[in-house]
């Protein structure tokens, strides 16, 4: 990318270019601008404060070491998300975080026999009023049961609302494979929350 005309560069690209040239102050600004985003995304995937801090540390060390590989073709935040996602996946492999996660396969997909149980409506109150500490624990525990590959897809696509094509590209998946993981993750989480959310007769 030709950034020779600095007058038309947006402030973020300018910071990135300066950081690439070894400007420590510019790199520090990038850290300040994106550390909350990186931490929040890591927490939403790991559901553990300590692991989210470690992931944020690993991510910015990776950014420092690999910033010259960022070519500006994608958004900087997308590039960051891909590093965080890889760090979460690697951490899982190293520490066997997923010993308690469930197996998500075809059997967890929609079955016609289940449809009768779908009839009960859920609490229609807005999410903000429903989010008690108890429900937050339920949300944490439910997503922790999902294998990391499914969690990352769900958080990127549904929670962070990234485009489906972008999620597939960042994770090196085909679009149908991304959709398949998303469908199973949504179904699994929905079924985990069902006992807490159904309106009692």
């Amino acid at each position: 990318m030709d950034h020779s005309d600095n007058s038309v560069q947006d402030p973020e690209s300018k910071l990135i270019d300066l950081a690439k040239q070894g400007d420590g102050k510019a790199f520090g600004e990038l850290v300040k601008q994106f550390e909350d985003t990186v931490y929040s995304f890591a927490f939403k995937v790991c559901r553990d404060h300590e692991k989210a801090v470690e992931t944020a540390q690993d991510t910015f060390v990776n950014v420092y070491l690999k910033l010259n590989q960022f070519d500006g073709k994608s958004k900087f935040s997308t590039w960051l998300y891909s590093i965080v996602a890889n760090n979460c996946l690697m951490k899982r492999r190293k520490t066997k975080l997923e010993e308690s996660s469930v197996s998500i396969d075809e059997s967890s997909d929609i079955r016609v026999d289940d449809l009768v149980s779908y009839i009960v409506p859920w609490d229609p109150d807005p999410a903000e009023t429903l989010l008690t500490n108890e429900l937050k624990n339920v949300l944490d525990e439910a997503i922790k049961k999902l294998p990391m590959e499914y969690r990352v897809v769900f958080v990127m696509r549904d929670v962070e609302q990234m485009a489906g094509e972008e999620v597939a590209e960042v994770l090196g998946l085909s679009l149908p494979a991304m959709k398949s993981r998303l469908r199973r993750a949504r179904l699994f989480l929905r079924n985990e929350l069902r006992p807490y959310m159904e309106v009692k007769p």
């Binding site: 931490y39 404060h49 690993d58 060390v61 959709k179 998303l182 179904l187 959310m197």
Partner: protein, 84 residues
């Protein structure tokens, strides 16, 4: 299975579509059929509402960022990049 199991579009097809990251508001014959099905099928409508609520709850759950996060990131950068 509910009364729409024998209709042109089965509940299971509708649910696979709505769970699979597909927009039901597109102007295609399939999406029109899905919307028609949802208009008359309380089971699928409740299921769709519960799926959307699941996503909404996770979207609204924002973690508190620790006050010492910046210091910890800077410390990691100092220790792990000093010779690079």
């Amino acid at each position: 299975m509910n009364e729409h199991a024998n209709a042109a579009l089965h509940c299971v097809d509708v649910l696979k579509h709505v769970c699979g990251d597909n927009d039901i508001y597109n102007d295609t014959p399939l999406c029109r059929e899905i919307r028609k099905h949802l208009d008359h099928c309380p089971g699928c409508t409740n299921f769709l509402q519960s799926m959307n609520k699941t996503i909404e709850l996770y979207q609204h759950y924002h973690p508190n960022v620790p006050a010492d996060l910046h210091a910890k990131v800077v410390e990691a950068l100092r220790h792990r990049t000093q010779d690079k």
